[in-house]
């Protein structure tokens, strides 16, 4: 059900000038930071622990616990991940363009809590306007005394650099992001160490947190971790920003209380998605970015809850929901997602680099009417070589999780729509031509 939970990260967005310092200050901006600076860093950390804030980037690791894992060292860094590239995810894009000061304030609060020597916001390169707004916000924050030496007269000082990416999905993976920030190709680093908290930027202990995670911090400090934890259920606390796209009447972003709100609410409620377009039937939906296995109509009443979605064999991931109606060709949809992973594989690991290429070609030939019946098992076999057992969460044969994400859409679509794949083979082509899909 829809609740009257407060908007935490999108409260300001009703104002057309939400990105300006004037609006930010007029709506409580930098008050969270002022309060944090009157607390000890440990107390700030404790509030974030009390909030049980799960990282909003995709993996959903508790932010406070990530901070606790920092290795003791004279120099530590904070890097904010704004390299949003998971297909169908556009929430960080929104926050970067529309409320950059909120990210900057959250970043300063986090840097204070962990004692970072310097902070970086890694912004996806394709967000030209976002880069301009973030850079402007940092310049204004310096002038306002919120960055630089002796922030707001305290003993805490910080420098914050806005760093542009250059176009590579893999840089959203935190160790690839650090390589990129060091001026290198975005090759994920070999694990262990599993977390940059041990060895991160320039080999120093580093915390990497998502943009939306940072955006929650000013509110958590002002209202207390307990107030945040009172929203949602279980481990899924607070609100979360969901990106809804595909075949719905009202695609867009919706900040919703976790757990209590369901996928049915998100897709069908008149105030949210407004239902499947043209009153059509729902065929399938992706619950958390294209790395996630697909969900179907029987999953609609599940809450937007990290644990519940995980137990059901998928993930809430990056908070992006893609709706596919009854006219969607499952083969074509699975192929397009597979092709994405093929293109974006960094090329370090054979199962990912070669595997993605092969499954891309095989699924494409089925869509083009050149497939064979045995191609279905061939696809599943190739997927099994990338992520053995085809279980969820997937087993890993590669340095990072891009490889094990490849099978998700293929396995989901073959298991559910095997007949549709076979029809492509039998008819020698797609029974659902895209033009009909589009124009009905």
């Amino acid at each position: 059900m829809l609740t009257d939970a407060p908007r935490i990260v999108t409260a300001r967005l009703e104002h057309p000038d939400s990105h300006t310092l004037e609006r930010y200050l007029a709506t409580g901006g930098y008050e969270g930071l002022r309060k944090a600076l009157t607390m000890t860093p440990e107390a700030v950390h404790e509030e974030v622990n009390a909030a049980s804030l799960l990282g909003r980037g995709g993996a959903g690791f508790p932010a406070g616990r990530k901070w606790s894992m920092l290795r003791e060292a004279p120099t530590t860094y904070l890097v904010v991940n704004g390299d949003e590239s998971e297909p169908a995810t556009f929430k960080d894009h929104l926050l970067i363009e529309r409320d950059p000061h909120q990210i900057v304030e959250g970043t300063i609060i986090a840097a204070y809590a962990i004692g970072a020597a310097q902070a970086f916001i890694f912004c996806r390169g394709e967000f030209a306007l976002g880069l301009e707004r973030l850079t402007q916000a940092v310049n204004e924050a310096y002038e306002h005394g919120a960055l630089g030496r002796s922030i707001f007269g305290s003993e805490f000082s910080l420098d914050l650099v806005v760093h542009p990416g250059a176009g590579a999905y893999i840089c959203g993976e935190e160790t690839a992001l650090l390589e990129s920030l060091e001026g290198k190709r975005g090759f994920p680093r070999i694990k262990p160490p599993y977390f940059p908290a041990a060895i991160g930027l320039y080999g120093e202990p580093t915390v990497v947190n998502n943009v939306e995670t940072m955006s929650n911090l000013p509110w958590i400090i002002l209202h207390g971790g307990a107030a945040f934890a009172a929203l949602g259920q279980g481990s899924s606390t607070g609100t979360r920003l969901f990106a809804l796209s595909g075949h719905v009447e009202r695609p867009g972003w919706y900040e919703l209380e976790m757990s209590t709100t369901t996928f049915r609410d998100l897709i069908y409620d008149e105030r949210l998605g407004g239902g499947v377009r043209l009153g059509r039937e729902l065929k399938a939906f992706i619950p958390g970015g294209v790395s996630a296995p697909w969900f179907f109509p029987e999953h609609l009443d599940m809450g937007l809850d990290q644990d519940a979605v995980g137990k059901a064999g998928s993930m809430l991931g990056s908070g992006s929901v893609v709706v596919m109606d009854e006219t969607t060709c499952a083969v074509r949809a699975a192929w397009r997602i597979t092709r994405f992973f093929h293109r974006e594989s960094c090329g370090q690991c054979t199962p990912c680099r070669e595997g993605a290429g092969w499954v891309d070609k095989v699924i494409r030939r089925i869509e083009d009417g050149l497939g064979r019946e045995e191609d279905l098992d061939l696809l599943l076999d190739a997927c099994d070589n990338i992520a053995p057992g085809l279980t969820w969460p997937p087993k890993q044969t590669t340095i990072c999780v891009l490889g094990p994400s490849i099978p998700s859409s293929i396995v989901s679509s073959i298991h559910r729509f095997r007949d549709e794949f076979l029809l492509h083979v039998k008819e020698g082509g797609c029974p659902m031509p895209p033009d009909e899909v589009r124009h009905g």
Binding site: T75, Q118, G148, R149, D159, P164, A166, A168, F195
Partner: protein, 220 residues
């Protein structure tokens, strides 16, 4: 022979200065060089190598990995049509097919007048505006074939000069150097005089200490 203009060289040095290690400025400087020339020239990569204290091959090696960095000339307007899942469901391949006809080129090619380069993009995070198109990384959408034609007409007639700068110009806002107290205060900061406003927090030892206890496992 320096290739970057005097003004850009100054900007480049200011960028290098905000990073603890000069190599971190490599990608920002590639963007700066593209802003000057529209793409990455050999000469610019040599300049960047000197500024970042790496070899020109390392600059090319990094640049060739990233979609936004072009080592060959491209058009004044790089038109990127997203065809990933959300846009595909809204008819992106039909818009892309139309774009090829309208511009008379295939994906990856540039029109003979040097005005347009056509690209097929992966998800641009504009899924609520599907079909989503970027021109020089400025967003347009939702677009159908007719709206695409109007966009191309407007660009060709120079009606969008203010919103869409020529290819390579990314952020038109620079970090303001010489800000009061912009000095990052790291535990290792040196006391030597530094360039106004944006000194780095001293050189770091790259060789890491042995890791502490390994983490609990990635991405639960």
């Amino acid at each position: 022979m320096a290739h970057l203009s005097a003004e850009n060289r100054q900007k480049a040095e200011a960028v290098v200065a905000v990073y603890p290690q000069p190599r971190s400025a490599l990608i920002p400087l590639c963007h700066l060089a593209q802003a000057q020339d529209g793409y990455l020239t050999e000469e610019a990569m040599e300049d960047i190598a000197r500024l970042c204290d790496v070899s020109p091959a390392e600059v090319r090696g990094t640049a060739s990995f990233y979609d936004m960095l072009h080592t060959e000339p491209v058009g004044r307007y790089v038109v990127a049509v997203c065809t990933n899942i959300a846009c595909m469901l809204a008819g992106a391949y039909e818009v892309l097919g139309h774009a090829k006809q309208r511009l008379g080129i295939h994906v990856g090619q540039t029109t003979p007048d040097g005005l347009f380069t056509l690209e097929e993009a992966e998800c641009l995070a504009g899924c609520d505006q599907a079909v989503c198109v970027q021109v020089n990384h400025r967003f347009f959408g939702p677009l159908d074939e007719e709206a695409f034609d109007r966009l191309v007409d407007d660009l060709a007639a120079g009606r969008l000069e203010d919103t869409v700068p020529r290819h390579g110009v990314l952020s038109r806002v620079s970090r303001a150097v010489g800000l009061p107290a912009a000095t990052p205060v790291a535990a290792t900061i040196s006391n030597e005089p530094q360039a106004a406003g944006t000194p780095p927090p001293g050189e770091k030892e790259v060789a890491p200490e042995p890791p502490a206890a390994a983490g609990a496992g990635e991405g639960e």
